[in-house]
């Protein structure tokens, strides 16, 4: 895992479910096929209602210059991020769109597992509710080692919760490399 993650923040609210992250009609693409993997980036967050897309103002497109990859690198969300279906296409869509980390108050269980075990992005939990305190477009820097989020635009600094027991899996790059490392998998 890199020691810092830097980029523009895209801010969403509570209960961003997997249908909003990647609508079901696009699940016909197979993420195991590289040309199709990028399609998930194109349609990432396409079912978030416009008024809730890019808070606090809303109506901020997630994609600007490139139709597949977003200019944003970090998503800031509220409670229960990634609730709903078990589709791994959700963290895949964010990964394909160029998202490196999500910072939310807490996650739905399956999204969190998928993000960690698939090694797509780092799901940080914040101590404070940050989706009301960070604005879409703010430049932010996550200091992984010290569990801090710096808002470079405002100069504010926020505490993140330690990654804890999943840190070794994230460090290894997912559940397969982790299982090999701890001797659970010999292939």
């Amino acid at each position: 895992m890199q020691s810092t993650i830097t980029g523009k923040a895209y801010v969403l609210g509570d209960n961003i479910d997997t249908d909003q992250i990647i609508p079901a009609q696009y699940l016909t693409f197979n993420p195991a096929v590289p040309e199709e993997y990028q399609m998930f980036g194109k349609f990432a967050l396409s079912s978030v209602p416009a008024s809730q897309a890019g808070l606090p103002k809303g109506h901020v497109p997630f994609h600007t210059k490139d139709e597949f990859v977003s200019d944003y690198r970090i998503i800031v969300g509220g409670k229960n991020f990634g609730c709903g279906s078990s589709r791994e296409h959700a963290p895949i869509a964010l990964d394909a769109a160029g998202i490196e980390a999500v910072v939310a108050e807490f996650y739905a269980r399956i999204f969190f597992r998928n993000a960690v075990n698939g090694g797509y992005l780092v799901p940080f939990e914040s101590v404070n509710r940050l989706c009301d305190r960070i604005c879409t477009g703010d430049d932010v820097k996550i200091d992984v080692e010290n569990n801090l989020l710096h808002n470079l635009t405002t100069g504010e600094q926020w505490q993140l919760k330690p990654l804890g027991e999943v840190a070794p899996i994230i460090d290894a790059g997912g559940v397969f490399p982790y299982a090999k490392k701890v001797g659970m998998l010999k292939v």
Binding site: N15, D17, D19, Q20, P23, A24, Q25, L27, T28, F29, N30, P31, A32, V33, S47, V48, P49, K79, N80, C83, G84, S85, S86, R87, E88, H89, F106, Y107, A108, R109, I110, R113, N114, N117, G118, E165, G174, V175, F176, A179, M184, L185, V187
Partner: protein, 435 residues
């Protein structure tokens, strides 16, 4: 040994441990891995990527493949995904594959699994679908996972699991005729919120639960994921065992596991079901609870009766009881979850008329067994909300865009409430039209 909940005991036994505690991270052995057409191709990709092109699944009789999501569609990619499953099944000699266009085709995986005898007390079931938790109704640990986890299980038969603390929900009393299990679970989700059980097990108990038939118990467990639950579970009784023993695939042996006296619950809540009213979840979240009496008269464009949550025989019996001899006022879509249920609609009679006839005579349209419009799907999916309309539905989720159009409004309710509303074109209380 400290007293444990049944979820803790099942997980502990599958990790070869006498005792586990909530929060423990353990490697457990899977009894069944289920996948379908939406997550199967990605899972197969993960499996081949990490175990090699010529790798074999850990047990060809424990990987169950049930295409059900995007079946009756002209979408070429969707059909390609079913072909991907077929190729894998042939290459791996998978024993339990319920292929489209064959007499084995079933429909919705969560109902197909028990019907075909793949759910047994005390087992561990992983599935690449969040509603895999439905099978907790058979006294097992059942939970949804993603492609990477499923690819891992496919190759090893194992997965790491964090043992969840258990919340206990006790129901007392017999359900009045105007209520169903759907009302109970919507009431629970309304009480604890759609994150109220995040990372936790939800155990259901009490005479009110054991008065329910097996399909209604499945409805309870089906929607624990809508509260964020890791699994839902009901200890087996004779009703469970009779169902399981009549269908058990290969007659596999199983152990009945129950919660120890004195086990620790992190939360406990008791309901008197005789005092509840019909419940509805308003747009756009399953925890946006209201009583039907508070929103009656709200205008609707469509009614939908189907899915793993609300497309079982009990659901259709209830709806038919209201629709018999009457006509619907709005577009009404009926989708049996499985082919067995579709056959049941033809064979089961209500006062001499088949349930299928009851629905058709009322003006409803009947689709083929599959997940259909519950999760939107390709644009030609039966019943899909292709515009910003209002729909009352027996399904499980109503987040923006879930059934198709992202500005559509979806109200979740019991089959009784949906049928009553179909008759009037507005949200209606089943107490006003039970026959």
């Amino acid at each position: 040994m400290p007293a444990m909940t049944m979820t803790e005991k099942i997980l502990g036994r599958h990790a070869g441990r006498d005792s586990v505690q909530p929060g423990d991270n353990i490697w457990v052995d899977a009894d069944i891995l289920m996948t379908h057409d939406v997550c199967g191709p990605g899972t197969i990709g993960v499996f081949h990527q990490h175990f090699g092109k010529n790798a074999k699944v850990w047990d060809r009789e424990k990987v169950v493949i049930i295409p059900d999501h995007y079946i009756f569609t002209a979408d070429a990619m969707a059909n390609r995904n079913v072909d991907t499953l077929r190729k894998f099944v042939a290459e791996q000699n998978i024993k339990y594959f319920y292929d489209v266009g064959t007499p084995r085709y079933k429909g919705v995986c969560h109902i197909a699994l028990p019907e075909e005898g793949h759910t047994r007390p005390g087992e561990v079931l992983f599935g690449t679908d969040s509603h895999t938790c439905t099978a907790g109704a058979f006294g097992e640990f059942a939970t949804g996972i993603g492609n990477t986890d499923a690819g891992f299980v496919m190759g090893t038969g194992k997965l790491w699991v964090k043992v969840p603390p258990t919340m206990r929900f006790v129901f007392h009393g017999n359900l009045p005729p105007y209520l169903m299990a759907k009302d109970l679970i919507l009431a629970v989700i309304g009480d604890i919120g759609c994150d109220g059980a995040t990372y936790k097990a939800m155990e259901f108990d009490g005479d009110g639960v054991y008065a329910l038939n097996i399909e209604e118990r499945m409805t309870l467990c089906n929607m624990v994921i809508e509260a964020g639950g890791k699994n839902g579970v009901i200890a087996p009784d004779q009703v469970t065992l009779d169902y399981v023993n009549a269908r058990n695939a290969s007659g596999k042996k199983y152990d009945v596991v129950t919660t120890d006296q004195g086990a620790t619950f992190c939360y406990e809540r008791v309901y008197d079901v005789t005092k509840l009213e019909p419940v509805i979840a308003k747009p756009h979240s399953p925890d946006n609870r209201a009583y039907v009496s508070e929103v009656r008269g709200t205008k609707l464009d469509r009614a939908y009766i189907g899915s793993c949550t609300g497309g079982k025989m009990t659901d259709f019996r209830a709806a038919a009881g209201i629709l018999k001899g009457r006509s619907v006022k709005i577009d009404t879509f009926v989708v049996p979850a499985t082919s067995e249920i579709a056959a049941g609609l033809k064979s089961e009679k209500l006062n001499g008329q088949s349930l299928e006839d009851v629905f058709l005579s009322a003006g409803a349209k009947i689709g083929q067994p599959s997940c259909a419009a519950c999760l939107g799907g390709p644009s030609d999916t039966f019943g899909r909300l292709n515009g910003p309309i209002s729909c009352i539905s027996t399904t499980n989720r109503n987040f923006p865009g879930r059934m198709g159009h992202k500005e559509a409004k979806v109200f979740l309710a019991s089959p009784l409430t949906v049928a009553a509303s179909a008759l009037t074109g507005v949200i209606a209380d089943p107490r006003d039209c039970l026959q």
